[in-house]
Amino acid sequence: MRKSKQVWIFIYAALGVMFVYNLLPFFWMVISSFKTELEVISYPATLLPNEFTTGAYEKIWLQEGFLLYFKNSLIVSLSTAALSSLVGIFAGYGFSRFRFPGRLTLMTAFLATQMIPGVLLVGPYFKMLTIAGLYNTLFGLILAQTSITLPFSVWMMKGYMDTVPIEIDQAAEVDGASRLQTMFLCIVPLVLPGLVATTIFAFLLSWGDLLWALCLISEQSKQTITLGITQLVGQFRVQWSEIMAATVIASIIPATLYLILQRYLVQGFAEAAVKE
């Protein structure tokens, strides 16, 4: 049925409202990051900067040690994403291909961990990492964040691998492939969109984390970018333009990742939705 003009106007108006609602904060963030410290808190607020300045960027990058925070965040997020994807591949393959006692219980347990709020787990993690001598280390933070992203990665990878016919494994076995060869040469290439989606998800979760970094890192040289941003909120003053510049920088990596890999991401989630 053809839609009338009024319906189209309504649809576009609704989309326009949603567009503004979603993008206004980003717009405001970018614009504010180029304002002077005075202008950013002036009232009434200016839409575009009267005096365009990159001072906030220079300050946080050169003076506040954001380069280090950025590097720490990259190390933690990339490692978390890599680790949870790698373990996700193995565990997902195991759950998908083998039938063993306790399989269902284990899978349900994995899922159940997603229902516990992170804030409840921070205490025990703090204790465990301290005992293991991993408190205030990037490695400890990576382990903690991986434990949060892993259940999702495992379930996602299992779902994708379930869509690959078991005969592919059997053909590879008859062809002389070992389990590992079968997994990495025959199965993983077929679930690549899913793997990319899962990896990005884990990366983004880790990149945006504040809670775990706040509780498990104490030294400034090991802080991540989210922790760095919170430090710009002082007891007596909030450095808005610097906060905005820092958030713009912090958004660059996830935004770029999304733009480059969105094809896989959409394909990956769509497959997970329609298959199995």
């Binding site: 592919i168 053909a171 076995e173 008859v174 062809d175 002389g176 492939a177």
Partner: protein, 356 residues
């Protein structure tokens, strides 16, 4: 190439036994087809030969070596799957070269083997294509190519034609048969299609509910089925069966059915007078004229294929199928006399359903 010896093999899934002590010996270079209805255990048996399924009891030997505990990749077999199981992300060339690369064979040898197999299977122009760019028949040929390049001791086929349309199936049937004749490879082939079994096999193994019903050449099974299952399973349209008692007088013999029809028997037919039997006759062994007793039938449906005519008729409440060469015209409701050919009548014991 090699022999395949299946000795008293059993398979259970939990407490449920699905293969009940099967034995079969497959000669070197022989083309053997395992045939039977769905769930009869034929694919499970093939998968046990392949090493994809554990053997609960008994032994399987390939080329004289017991392979019960040998992994699939070390059995020197190649398998073609029902859904082809090609690696979708690899080109035809890489699909065929995969096993050779895993073996660490040098590139020139791989290239020579892949190209030779591609030539045999008419795939030379498709080597750089992805499986999704191929038709069903071409995919099936790639799956066979993947098997050929390895030069294995035994080829295993698991219902390889069931995903193809009827016309392509006929074509691929002759291609597989031709391939077997050219390579002379020991082949075990699973199908539920009795026509495939009849046309392709050197020997057929008919299976039902985890047992072997009969093993022999296609014509042996067709002419001398050991029981009503084999008699009814092989042949299309299927054999007609009537239950009745044997009657004898002087040099004459016949079977009287409960509904009063008398069916002709040769005087030399086995069985005692009064014995309850199953009388079997194939549709193509029924004539429209003859000197023997005839079944008086009413035409229900007539089907013609151009070269033959098939008739579904009603004989005192029992449905009978008859097939005649050439063209005949029957009208529904018309009365016809159907004459079973005496030399092609089969008799089975009504209780054991075994051939008399």
């Amino acid at each position: 190439m090699a022999t395949v010896d299946v000795r008293n093999v059993r398979k259970s899934f939990g407490d449920h036994e699905v293969i009940h002590g099967i034995s079969a010996f497959i000669e070197d270079r022989e083309f053997v087809i395992l045939v039977g209805p769905s769930g009869c255990g034929k694919s499970t048996l093939l998968r046990m030969i392949a090493g994809l399924e554990d053997i609960t009891a008994g032994e399987i030997a390939i080329g004289g070596r017991v392979v019960n505990d040998v992994r699939a990749k070390e059995r020197d077999i190649a398998m073609v799957f029902q859904n082809y199981a090609l690696y979708p992300h690899m080109t035809v060339y890489r699909n065929m070269a995969f096993s050779l690369r895993l073996k660490g064979m040098d590139r020139d040898e791989i290239d020579r083997r892949v190209k030779r197999a591609a030539e045999i299977l008419n795939l030379s122009d498709l080597l750089q294509r992805q499986p999704r760019q191929l038709s069903g028949g071409q995919r099936q040929r790639v799956a066979m190519g993947r098997a050929i390049v390895r030069n294995p001791q035994v080829f295993l086929f698991d219902e390889p034609l069931s995903n193809l349309d009827a016309k392509l199936r006929v074509q691929m049937r002759s291609e597989i048969k031709d391939l077997h004749q050219r390579l002379g490879a020991t082949t075990v082939y699973v199908t539920h299609d009795q026509l495939e079994a009849m046309t392709m096999a050197d020997r057929i193994v008919v299976m039902s509910e985890g047992y072997v019903e009969q093993m022999g050449s296609p014509l042996e099974l067709y002419d001398q089925p050991v029981n009503t299952f084999v008699a009814g399973f092989l042949g299309s349209p299927a054999m007609n069966f009537f239950e009745g008692r044997i009657g004898r007088e002087d040099a004459r013999a016949w079977v009287d059915t409960a509904d009063g029809t008398s069916l002709p028997l040769p005087a030399s037919a086995p069985g005692n007078e009064g014995q309850t039997v199953i009388y079997g006759v194939r549709p193509e062994h029924i004539g429209l004229s003859g000197e023997t007793l005839a079944m008086e039938a009413g035409v229900v449906v007539m089907e013609t294929t151009g070269s033959a005519t098939q008739l579904l008729a009603d004989v005192a409440g029992t449905r009978v199928v008859a097939a005649f060469n050439g063209r005949h015209v029957f009208r529904p409701g018309e009365r016809v006399s159907l004459h079973p050919e005496l030399e092609h009548v089969h008799l089975f014991d009504a209780e054991t359903r075994q051939r008399l």
